[in-house]
Structure formats: C-alpha cells, structure tokens
C-alpha cells in the first residue's frame, strides 16, 4: 500500500484527463472508450466484473437449482450438477451464483462506506491541519496497528455475526488507508495557487474543501476503492471461512470453504476448487481494474514504471 500512496501523492492534478466537451453521459462514454483502449487487460477484467454483477442480480433466473435445498447426496461434478454438490447435497454452482450476491453486497457497501468515511476524514484532516490533523493521524496510526483481519475479527465478536456486522467490520478496516492516501493528496493540493486564491477572496473553509480540494482527490480514491474491492472480498471470505462472518446456511464463497477439509478423510476436491476459484478470479479482476485505472488516470506513473 505504501507504493500506492507514494504513487498517488506524487501525481500531478494537472495530468488528469481533461474532459470539457459534451454532456456528462457522453463524457463518461468516451472516458470508458479511452479506458478500454488504454488497457485491454483492464477492459477484460471489467467485463469479468460485469458478468459477476449480472450473475448476482439474476441469480434466481440463472441458478439451475435452489441453493438451500438439500438432497443429502454428496457427489462430484455431473451433468445434473455441473460443479457437484456439497455435504448436504446442495448444488455448488447455484450456491456460487447466489454467493456472488452476498460477496458483492458486502464488498460494495463496505468499500463505499469505509472509503467515503476515509475520503471525508482525509480531506478534513489534511486541509484543517493543526491539532485536528495530529489527533486524527494518531488515531489512524492506532487503527493501522492491527492486522486488518484481526481488527475485523475483534469487531465481529463484539458486534455479533451477520451480514450487517460483516459489512461494518470490513468497512472499518478500509478507513485508515483511504484516510492516509486522501490526506496525502490534500497536502499537495492545499498549496496550489487556486486554493490560495479561493482563501484570499474569502470562500468559506467548507466550500474550499468541498469544491476545490475534494474533486482533486476523487481519482486517487477511485483507484483505492477498486483495489479495496479485492481486499474486501478477501476479508469477507476469510471471516466466513473462519466461521466468524456470514452465518450458514446462506451461501458465501468463504463459508462454502469452511470445514471442507476437516469433514472427510478424502476431501471432495470440487468443494475446495470452485468456491476458491470464484474468490480468486473476482479479486484478480478487481486488482487488474485498479491497476489499469491508476495507469489510466496517471499516465506519467506508467511511463516511469513500465
């Protein structure tokens, strides 16, 4: 994460792709087109994510079986159950498709929540400075002093297992890094002449933070959020794998892996492989989108490193 923060704090706000022409929709469309052209790998990853999102939305239509309906027959992949069935005879493919719902819900909301707090906190901390900044940064230090998963585990036991608490626990672990990174950008933006000019003509502090400082931090936080998406999926899967996250019988990719090896002398390989693949592919795609987005928003960095 440190390379990311230095990479982003080094970035020159002027290197943002300028987009004056056209309406918002057209601008977005042309930005997407440019993104796809700049990074084919990123585009493929984006496509993978769109597929996963569709899978989650239309799970009831796509899934061949009921994810919760047990048949009590555990079997490997077959024509009827393409990815096999689990210990209770539930269809693995259907569980993975429905699991995408929980995984995406947790990932999106926790990242949105955590990074939004980190974003606002970072702006306030960086721009206001002085005592508020000092106290904020010591607090961030403390939050950063826990391995993320340990902090999440502590919160889970305190708040109790469940969907909402998983989201909160993961959101909290996202806050420190997004605060740090936003703050580091604010520190450079704060010194620019247009911010100084705004201050001179008496624009209120909150308005400067909102109108002049915040927009410069959007691109970096977008990159961070994309990378956090992968981290959140990992965190949810690990918590659920440990039995501290999404409680069964609701399918989550992580809790599908829990206890699989312990249950049988010869562990059913399909129960290990397929949920893990779902986790890995979605994390990998999120990471690749994040990398591509960073290169796209900051071409200077790309030239330097690649």
């Amino acid at each position: 994460m440190s390379n990311l923060s230095t990479a982003i704090s080094n970035k020159n706000p002027a290197s943002l792709p300028s987009s004056e022409a056209g309406g918002v929709g057209q601008r977005t469309l042309s930005a997407i087109r440019r993104f796809i052209r700049s990074s084919p790998v990123g585009a493929v990853s984006l496509a993978i994510w769109i597929i996963i999102i569709f899978m989650a939305i239309f799970a009831p239509q796509i899934a061949p079986h009921d994810p919760l309906e047990p048949t009590y027959v555990e079997e490997g992949p077959s024509a009827a159950h393409i990815l096999g069935t689990d210990r209770l005879g539930r269809d693995v493919l259907s569980r993975i498709i429905f699991g995408a719902r929980i995984t995406l819900l947790v990932a999106f909301i926790s990242v949105l929540l955590g990074d939004a707090i980190g974003f606002l906190w970072g702006i306030a901390s960086g721009y206001l400075g002085e005592r508020f900044d000092l106290i904020s940064q010591r607090l961030v230090d403390v939050l950063m002093s826990f391995p993320g998963l340990i902090l999440a585990l502590l919160l889970m036991v305190v708040l109790g297992a469940g969907l909402t608490t998983v989201i909160i626990a993961i959101a909290v672990t996202r806050i420190p890094s997004s605060t740090r990174i936003t703050r580091s950008v604010v520190l450079t933006v704060k010194e620019t002449s247009y911010v100084e000019a705004a201050r001179m003509i008496g624009v209120p502090t909150w308005a400067i933070m909102l109108r002049h400082v915040a927009p410069q931090c959007v691109a970096p936080i977008l990159v961070v959020a994309t990378l956090h998406l992968g981290a959140a999926i990992f965190a949810e899967s690990a918590l659920s794998f440990l039995g501290m996250g999404i409680p069964p019988p609701a399918p989550s990719w992580g809790n599908m892996l829990g206890g699989v090896l312990a249950a049988a002398f010869r562990p059913p390989w399909w129960l290990v492989i397929f949920p893990g693949l779902a986790i890995t592919i979605s994390i990998m795609a999120a990471n690749l989108i994040g990398d591509a987005l960073r290169d796209f928003l900051d071409p200077k960095l790309r030239q330097r490193l690649d």
């Binding site: 440190s2 391995p147 992968g230 892996l257 890995t280």
Partner: protein, 319 residues
C-alpha cells in the same frame, strides 16, 4: 543513529497506548458488558444466574469503574500476568508459550521463503524486461497476489491427501525437540502463507529494479566498463532492496492476519487457532489479551521496519 532510534521508539509509545485503549473500549463499551456476551450465548453449556453473575463480575473486577479496570489490566499485563482462560482456567501465558513458537516460526519461514522466491523472480523479470520470462512471471505474480493464502493452503492439503494420502499431523512439535517432525508441520503452511508475499515481493523488486536501472550512476557504472552482471549485483540490487524491505515489513501485518486462516486450513494448533477458538467461545479475557499481543507484535514489526529503513538508507538517519 541512536537519536533516531530513540525518537522512533518514543513515537511508538502513544500508538501502543492507543491500541490498548481501543481494545479495552471495544470489549467493554460496544456490547455493554463482557459477561453479557458469555451469558447471551444460549447454546453455551450453562446460563449464569443473576447471583452468579454478580459474583463473577466482582471476582473479575468488572464491578469497578472503567478507568480502574483499565489500569488494573495494564498493571497485570505489564507485570506479565495475562490472566486465565474463562472456560478452562488455564493461564493464558502458558497457552501462548506453547502455541506461539509454531506460529512465529511459520510466519518467519514464510517471509524467508518469500524473499528466496520473490527477489530473484523480480530481478530476473526486470533484467529481461518484456521477454517471455517476464510475461510469464508477471502473470504468475498477478494470480498469486489474488489467491487467498488459506485457499493456497487448502489446495496444498488437498494435493497431498489425494496424491500422497498424507496429511500434516495435527500436533505441536517444537523445532528444538524434533526438527524433521517440526518441518513436516510448518513447511507447507509457511509455503502457503509465503506464496502471496513472494508475489508481492517479486512485483516490488521488479518495479524497484526498473526504476534504479535508469539512474545516472547505473549508466556511469556501465560506461566505465563494468559488466552487466556486476552492475546489477553491486548497484541495482542493493538500491532496489529498500522498497522491498518496506513492503515485506508492512506485509507482515497481513501475514499475521493471514496466518490465522492458514492455521485453520491446515488445522495447526497455533496462536491463530487459539484466537479463533477464543472468539467462538467468547473467552473475553483471552480475546482481549491475544488481540493485544497481535497489536503489540505488529507495532514492534513496524518499528523494526522503520529502523531497518534507516539502517539501509543513511539519508533517513541524518535527517
């Protein structure tokens, strides 16, 4: 240098105090009462009556005001008293002493493995940039960064069970008692844990090496007639290692968290499994002190990373 060290240690102290306060508050304020967690476990073996609750509360000092409880806790921890398990009455320090070494060993071996694999891969990838080797290693790195370490562990166990019908034994064998038996338990988990870190290290080493390769002093070294290998070894490698050290130091935190789930995947009775057990059993004193231990270890690691940074880069020392 000694001034820098002292300074850095002084900065670490408020953070450590903050860690203790955060844990204390999380355990006390959020659910209301640690015993309430125990009591609300309706599936637990017994439900406490009101009298028992009062008695327990008094014996554990929970009827005291928060600040006295906090100071008591601090005094006990500082005097090396980590309390006892709520359910088994076993001293927590004894549990840590028995289970800690195996976890520490796995984590340290994971870091060493990540260096042995990651640094050469990253350096070679940078030296032969845009070759097939470079592309292959970058693809592998991308995959391994995304793979959760506990899943890598599960794949390893699955492989050894299905192919060799062999499962790692589920006991603790300390290295000093039986090195070979110890390795049977620790080597594969540290590989699972180290694989992801190796990928991060390789990626970091590659980009650091590429950055250094365009420095003036590297061109000068080449121009004065040093061989490519000598330049890479003497100039590029040394200077590229700095960010690598920081990254793997910072990654150690993730490693500590990751070790919990890897231990679970392999069924290793280490510190991580102890924590998971304490969490599921709501053994609150154990949770409180184990989380503190993790926080402290992480704080010390961060301190060491900072110090090593200054050791390798004199510019920081004399700032």
């Amino acid at each position: 240098m000694s001034k820098y060290i002292l300074n850095r240690i002084l900065i670490a102290i408020p953070t450590i105090i903050g860690i203790t306060m955060l844990i204390f508050l999380a355990m006390r304020v959020l659910p209301g009462d640690p015993l309430a967690i125990v009591q609300s476990e309706s599936t637990g073996a017994y439900v406490l009556s009101d009298d028992e609750l009062q008695q327990l509360r008094a014996s554990l000092g929970l009827d005291q005001p928060y600040y006295i409880q906090y100071l008591d806790w601090m005094r006990q921890v500082l005097s090396g008293n980590f309390g006892t398990s709520f359910w088994t009455n076993e001293p927590i320090s004894a549990l840590i002493a028995r289970r800690g070494p195996i976890t520490a060993q796995i984590a340290i071996m994971a870091v060493i493995l990540s260096w042995l694999i990651g640094v050469p891969v990253g350096m070679l990838s940078a030296m032969w940039r845009n070759s097939m080797l470079d592309y292959a290693s970058r693809l592998t790195v991308t995959v391994f960064i995304a793979m959760p370490s506990y899943w890598v562990g599960m794949l390893i166990v699955l492989f050894t069970v299905l192919v060799y019908s062999w499962r790692p034994p589920l006991t603790i064998i300390q290295f000093w008692d039986d090195p070979i038996g110890n390795m049977q338990i620790t080597l594969l988990p540290s590989l699972a844990l180290g694989a992801g870190l190796a990928a991060v290290t390789a990626r970091m080493a590659r980009s650091a090496a590429l950055e250094v390769m365009y420095e003036d002093y590297v061109r000068t070294a080449r121009a004065k007639g040093l061989s490519y290998a000598a330049v890479v070894w003497r100039h590029v490698f040394k200077n590229a290692m700095l960010p690598v050290i920081t990254t793997s130091g910072l990654a150690l935190g993730g490693l500590l968290g990751g070790a919990v789930s890897v231990e679970k995947a392999f069924g290793i009775p280490g510190l991580g499994n102890l924590l998971v057990q304490a969490l599921t059993e709501r053994d609150w004193m154990m949770i409180q002190n184990l989380v503190l231990l993790y926080g402290l270890i992480f704080a010390v690691i961060n301190l060491l990373v900072d110090l090593s940074y200054a050791w390798f880069d004199p510019r920081i020392r004399y700032e």
